[in-house]
Amino acid sequence: MDFRFDIIMEYAPYLLKGTLITIGLSLAGIIIGTVLGLFIGLGKMMRNKYLAFPFTVYITVFRGTPLLVQVLLIHFGVVPFFTGETNAVAATIIALSLNAAAYIAEIFRAGIASIDRGQMEGARSLGLTHVQSMRHIILPQAFKRMIPPLGNEFIVLIKDSSLASVIAAPELMYWGRAMSSQYFRTWEPYLTAAVIYLILTLLLSILLHSLERRLATE
C-alpha cells in the first residue's frame, strides 16, 4: 500500500489552521459550557421545585438529543433567525457550549451533593451566609472532586467539535474531509486527523492530571 505523505504535506497548512480552529472551538465550548453549567447546576439544586423545573428540562433536552441534531438546528435555524445569516463557527460554539453545559451542570450538582452536609452546617453555624458558605467551603471542595469527570467532558467536547465539519466550519475534520474528497483517499486524511485529535486529548489529560495532583497535595 502506498501512503502518500506528499498530500499530507500539501494539506499541512490547512490542517494546522484547522487544528487551531478546533482548539479555539473546544476552548470556547469548555469555558462557556463550564460557566453556564455551573449556573444550570445550581439552578437545578434550588429548593423551590417550580424554579428548578426549567433547569431540569434544559438538562433533559440537551442530554437526550444528539449533538449533531443540535448543531444542525442551531446552524440552520437559530443563528439565521437572530442574525439573518448563517455562521458555522458561531453555531458550533453555541451548540458545543449549550450541550456541554447540560453535562457539566450534572457534574457540578453531583460534586456539590457529594460534600458532607456537616460542612454547610459548620459554615452556617459560624454566621456565614449561604453564598459565603458555598464560595469558601462547599465549592472549593466540590471542585477538587469534579476534576476527573470534568476532564472526561472536556475530552468528549474536543472530539465532538469534529461534528462542525458537517456545517462546514473550517476546523480539523473539515480539512480532513476536503483532502479526502480531493484525492479520493481514506487513510492519509483520516489517520492524520485522528493522530492530531489524539495529541490534543492527551495534552489535555496530562494537564488535568497535574492539576488534580497539585490540588490533592495542597
Partner: protein
C-alpha cells in the same frame, strides 16, 4: 438569655419535638440528656435554626429567631456550635478554619484574626498545630479546634451537640476539660451529651428528654439521685 416557648418540630408526619418550654439564664450550663431519638439534638439545632421550626418561638436575648425580620446570620454569629463530627473544613489549615468566620462575617483585619486564633489555639492546647490540615489531627484535637473555631466569633452562647460521642474513649477527657474551663469562665452553654459525669460535675441544670418532651428537669444532684419520673429512672438505671 434563651427562651424557648411551645417549640414544636416535625419531619413530615413525624413530630420530633412536642411543646418544649425552657428558659436559660446567662452563664448557666444546661445539660440535655435522654435516649437516642428523644429529640435532644433536634432541640439544640432549633436554637440556632439549623432546623426550621414548625411552631412556637425561640428568643435569644429577646430577639425572636422565628421572626422573618430577624437576621439569622447575626444570631448565629453570636451562638457558637460544636458538632459531634467536628465539621472542620478539610481544605483549610487549622488556623484558616478558625480565622474564616471572623474575617468573612465580622470583617476583622487579618493580623487581628490571626492573633486571636493563635490565642485560642493556645487555650485549647494546640498552638503547635496551627498550620496543619485537620486530617492529620486526632479526634480529640479536631474537636478542640472546632471549639476554638466557634469561640473565635466571641459567642455569647455555646451549643454542644454530643461533642464527645464520636471520640475514642481516651480522647474524651481532653475535650471535656476544655468545656469545663469554658464553664468556669462563665460561658452560657447548652450541652447534649451522654457523659453523665460531666453533667453532674459541670451542669447547673439537667434536662431529661424523652419522646419529644422535657420529661424532667432539676439540678444534677437531685435529678441523678432522686429522679421523679418513671422514664427518668429507667433511663438513668441503664446509663449510670
Amino acid at each position: 438569655m434563651i427562651k424557648v416557648q411551645s417549640l414544636r418540630k416535625s419531619f413530615g408526619e413525624h413530630e420530633v419535638l412536642k411543646d418544649i418550654n425552657v428558659a436559660i439564664k446567662p452563664q448557666e450550663v444546661v445539660v440535655v440528656i435522654g435516649p437516642s431519638g428523644s429529640g435532644k439534638s433536634t432541640f439544640l439545632r432549633c436554637i440556632n435554626l439549623l432546623e426550621s421550626i414548625t411552631a412556637g418561638h425561640v428568643l435569644i436575648e429577646g430577639k425572636d429567631i422565628t421572626d422573618k425580620q430577624t437576621d439569622i446570620n447575626k444570631i448565629r454569629a453570636e451562638v457558637g456550635m460544636v458538632f459531634q463530627h467536628f465539621n472542620l473544613f478539610p481544605h483549610k489549615t487549622v488556623l484558616e478554619n478558625i480565622m474564616l468566620a471572623p474575617l468573612k462575617v465580622k470583617k476583622v483585619d487579618k493580623g487581628q484574626a490571626r492573633e486571636k486564633a493563635l490565642r485560642l489555639l493556645k487555650k485549647v492546647g494546640l498552638e503547635e498545630k496551627a498550620n496543619v490540615y485537620p486530617d492529620s489531627l486526632s479526634g480529640g484535637q479536631k474537636q478542640r479546634v472546632a471549639i476554638a473555631r466557634a469561640l473565635a466569633m466571641e459567642p455569647k452562647i455555646m451549643l454542644f451537640d454530643e461533642p464527645t460521642s464520636a471520640l475514642d474513649p481516651e480522647m474524651v477527657g481532653e475535650v471535656l476539660e476544655v468545656m469545663k474551663e469554658l464553664a468556669r469562665e462563665g460561658m452560657t452553654m447548652v450541652v447534649v451529651t451522654h457523659e453523665m459525669g460531666f453533667a453532674r460535675e459541670v451542669g447547673d441544670r439537667v434536662l431529661f428528654m424523652d419522646g419529644g418532651y422535657i420529661v424532667e428537669e432539676n439540678v444534677p444532684k437531685q435529678l441523678f439521685e432522686s429522679p421523679q419520673h418513671q422514664r427518668t429512672k429507667a433511663f438513668l438505671s441503664k446509663v449510670l
